[in-house]
Symmetry: C2
Subunit: 350 residues, 2 copies
């Protein structure tokens, strides 16, 4: 940020009305249509409560005045805001962009507004943000929450909450079912001659990380492969670079990482050290984020349908809000292996 020129007088934003033309209200409509304001209110929000004739009268007047409800005036007595919140662990992380997009799209379709906040991977920040939001939204979606189950349940007691990427008892959740994708990945690696796999874990509070590790252990047992677990410092490209040492030291010939960012960082670091992927080490990521196919070789990964998670969570939440929902239940979405170039046959050490 360098230079700030001042171009022309500001079109001083009118200090909100009173100077002649404030926004039209139901009272204005009532006057034009020659009815009582409450009738206008009913005509506009309770279909069928007024006669077809007055309905039309009022609608015409509303159209003429270019009327728009004042959401605040409506929210005050009813508590409904037509708004829901989405809290993500890290806006930096592209994983969440598909989720955000999915949620935003269904929000718009169903005439709701999406409010966004991030927790910066911190359980306290997350809880603070959630509390703040609760006042202004009808419901909340928590994507990969870091706070503990009890806090989530407490929030859910107040207003509908839907959780993505984690299972919390008594709270509706949207969870990718990792088993299918993982077993496909492990079978593929086994078929390519790998015998020892490593898992690079994500943040310790991450429910998903734990699930993926369990899934991998199970799949490896089934295929009679060795599985070792390595820890990462943070679930980012940088974190992936840092864990490269440990990966090489582990003796594993194939690696599954908690997410794609770790995989990409790991691959970069290994390649920089002269390791050929996939000839010497196979790498498999998780999620299939934007850019996973930009790498050379393109990243093999277990795809989570993130957009579907976002839209699924939004749908679940809105159904709940509109009284269509069954209550708590877990929506499982399928994962699948996306086979690209970063995994493959192990070449005999040359």
């Amino acid at each position: 940020m360098t230079e700030a020129t001042n171009a022309g007088a500001a079109t001083a934003p009118t200090k909100r009305g009173r100077e002649g033309k404030s926004n039209p209200t139901i009272y204005d409509i009532a006057k034009v249509a020659g009815v009582n304001p409450s009738t206008v209110s009913r005509a506009l929000s309770k279909p069928g409560r007024v006669s077809a004739k007055t309905q039309k009268l009022i609608e015409d007047a509303a159209a003429e005045l270019n009327y728009q409800v004042n959401p605040f005036a409506r929210a005050l007595p009813t508590g409904r805001t037509s708004t829901f919140g989405l809290i993500v662990a890290d806006i930096t992380n592209p994983t969440f962009f598909d989720i955000i997009r999915g949620a935003e799209t269904t929000a718009t379709v169903r005439d709701y507004t999406l409010v966004l906040a991030e927790s910066a991977e911190s359980a306290v920040t997350e809880l603070t943000a959630a509390r703040r939001m609760m006042a202004t939204v009808d419901g909340l979606i928590l994507a990969s929450p870091r706070m503990d189950d009890d806090n989530i349940r407490t929030l859910a007691r107040d207003k509908p909450v839907v959780v993505i990427n984690r299972e919390v008892d008594g709270v509706p959740c949207v969870v990718p079912d990792v088993d299918k994708g993982i077993s496909e990945a492990v079978r593929s690696l086994a078929a390519n001659g790998h015998r020892k796999l490593a898992f690079v874990a994500g943040p310790p509070q991450s429910w998903m990380s734990a699930r993926r590790w369990e899934g991998m252990q199970a799949a490896c047992e089934w295929s009679r492969l060795d599985a070792v677990r390595l820890e990462s410092t943070k679930p980012t490209v940088d974190g992936g670079r840092q864990v490269a040492r440990d990966v090489r030291a582990s003796g594993a010939t194939a690696v599954l990482t908690y997410n794609d960012l770790l995989a990409i960082g790991l691959m970069q670091e290994l390649q920089a050290a002269g390791v050929v992927v996939p000839d010497q080490i196979s790498i498999v990521g998780f999620d299939d984020i934007f850019g996973a196919d930009f790498t050379t070789p393109p990243l093999t990964t277990v795809r989570s349908p993130l957009g579907e998670c976002g839209s699924g969570a939004a749908t679940l939440l809105l159904d709940l809000l509109q009284g269509l929902g069954e209550g708590a239940g877990t929506l499982r979405v399928e994962t699948e292996l996306v086979l690209r170039g970063s995994s493959g046959r192990l070449l005999p050490a040359g």
Copy 2:
């Protein structure tokens, strides 16, 4: 989305209060502190208007009751919502990721809430979304808007509006100053022996696309290089693939593209056709989005400080809202060439 199990009874969300414990109001505080509600209101929002003694009394009572203002009740008489909107052309496009992040971060810091919407690259959808938002926000940020100047000015007459990636007379804007970055890019290409450059343009309504093309023409003239302009169908990876034919046909040995996505798609397609980058063709993108360095070779690009644009716009807007701003003015942010592997010396054919 495949399976939906129903796990346990719903923690039926309490239908908003009245059953004993609604949220505390200023009236409750007033009762506890033994003062009038209006005094509470003043204590909580007009610093200095009440004596230190009552101030403390009220604050203690508020803390004890765990009071939180009801934003709607506040918004109704004042019109202030502590909320601003951000409309992006396309949530799919990672260019906007950083803008969103920048805006969200400053919003949080300054105790504002960010509301997000997208226009799906359509001028009408954009205008509709903007109109809808206007009712619920204090101000609006338009990132790469597609609607025309007059519509933007009309919106700006109502409430503060800040525009990113475009200059609109009389409206505050945040614009990357492309000249520096472009001239660095062109000089670098000239120094590497290129004589004919191509520009792959973006959407016709894109102000930025026009500016970049102008900047490139100017820089080429200065360096005495040829510049040809090619059109793309859409500013995405796919659009980049599709324009590869034209690029080869153009005879240019170096290409600047409207954005990184086009560059990445173009590079993929060229490489698939056996063209070696950068030996036979140099490619330079725009923006330096997430993932631009994942490619092989990593993408040379003219970086726009997108996060800075987002936070700069938010700062501008909030200053305006809080009466600190000077009104319309353009905030220019610097661009710079990020030299990576996709551009370089032209190898003699053969």
